[in-house]
Amino acid sequence: MTPLGRLAAAFAAIVAVALPFLLKPFGIYLISMWAVLTVAAIGLNLTLGYAGQVSMAQGAFVGIGAYTVALLTQAGCPFALAFAAAGVLCFAIGWMLGYPALRVAHHYLAFVTLAFTTLVFLVLRNEEWLTGGTYGINGISRPVFFGLSTAKPLPFYFFCLGTLAVLSLATWWMLRSPWGRAFKGLRENPIRAQSLGTDTRRYTLMAFAIGAGLGGLSGALYAPLVQFIEPGSFALGLSFNLLLMVIVGGSGYFFGPFVGALIAVLLPEWMRVAEGYYLIVYAMLVMVMMAFCPSGLLGLVARIKAASRSNRAAPAPALRAEGAGS
């Protein structure tokens, strides 16, 4: 990371800690939602941005995680255990769903995951004995740690932020390990990666499963945050939104999901004046950005930086991604 980038990250961390003290409960709810969605977006960024697999199932994993936590905690299971179960379950399902990724080209994988998301939605809606059907699950309690309740917005925000910090540090560490390099190799040139001795099969499954597991953990935070879940929240729309977050922030950049989720959460609020039209404007912005800068906002920042240092040649895309992440 460049000194400037380090400064920006430190500043962002201070804002993330100090900001909730200045906000009303709804504002705290919004930034909690940001933290929760960022976890899911980090997972998708791993799958899409680093390993190059297009997944439209991240919303479904958030849903599976949310329902797992809601059902287990209502059955009397401690939150920590339910949280871990959500992650493990999604990791396992992601591993299985990753198999098609090994067989088919990337655009087919998009369709497999699209079908999977719709199937998960149908199961959540139709299996009323388990999920409550369209009525959803109400009154999901927030966890208590060592006698400290997180029922109030502020403690729960710090719980979300802490989880986000731990998970993003873990992801950071993993991306700098040989695994992370293998993931990037998969994205840049799978055939070359294989001929250099990378077990592409295992790493593709790994990237997919870890991304799914993070989606599940995000869902495990989502359920106690909103305290009411219903199948419609986890339909295709959420998967598309998460995909847009990763792309808008800058896929393959470590901080891309943070930026993308922030925009996805804040934009509707900023554009209250535009009422229903905000989605139209959002969609237009995404299209314009895809046409001019498909590498996302952080890609744009990198491009501006490269242009300002025009005496140095702009690095190749793969290196740029690494430059932003290290």
């Binding site: 297009v54 198999y99 098609p100 067989r103 088919v104 080209a105 990337h106 655009h107 087919y108 998009a110 369709f111 497999v112 699209l114 079908a115 999977f116 719709t118 199937l119 149908l122 809606r125 139709n126 295709l236 598309f240 995909l243 847009l244 792309i247 229903g276 039209y277 989605l279 139209i280 959002y282 969609a283 237009m284 995404v286 299209m287 895809m290 046409a291 001019f292 498909p294």
Partner: protein, 291 residues
Amino acid sequence: MASLIQLLVSGLATGAIYALIATGFTLLWQTSQTINFAQGEFVMLPAFFILAAMNWGAPFWLAALIGIAVSIVVLGVLFKLIIVDPMLKYGVLPLVISTIALSLFLKESAKDFYSSQAQPFPALVPATDIHVLGAVVSTQSLAVLAVAIVTVSALHLLLNNTRLGRAMQATAQNPTLARIVGIPVQRMVLYTFLINAVLVAIASILISPIYLAKFSNGETLGLAAFTAAIIGGFNQVRGAIVGGIILGVLDNLSAAYLSSQYRGAIPLMILIAVILWRPQGLFGRIEERTV
């Protein structure tokens, strides 16, 4: 038996509509590697063009023609010029994202600028029932089938029996070689976008009397189009047609005999099975243009 015939006929009618949508979808893929995630919204939208024209006082037939013409301009020419062309150089993924955003844009625009309520849409023929072999068959289903068959036959004739059609096929199979033998490749690509626009407009006219014109119609229709295209074979017009018909019939049969709650799940499971064991589709050939 009688109910089976009824189900088959209505299934064929739905399937024929899916086939039209899926055919357009595969045409775009073949000539320009565009995976149009907004295809469902492309079917939703022309109905609103037609309703708008009728609100201005145009009779239905004229409104339908205006609707098709506006579709050709908006969903054919403008879609290619504004969305697809600037993005082709970045490869498949950014365009996928962009069409996802476009689907959101079209859906929300129809909702905010026209209506969030389902709008009644005039049927092609008055809804009466005909008794065939003891089964009750609606004239609407028959009309849908007739229009779809005429459309597909016309497309087939265009693609296989005209110079233009063969030039378009050559473009799809190998753009470089097509250019070498003097085919204006860019123009051929544009034509496929126009054909897609006509196909979705016709599909819109056929399906809106049944489902009503609603901004959210595109979600299910788009999914049906992808599923049909993949089941049949992503790179074959013939495959898309068969895939659409299989899907429509299966949809109606499974809703009647298996579970109406899971009617949407069966095509998806077939989709996953096809991708896993026969990714080129039931009728497709293995893609030759990789790498």
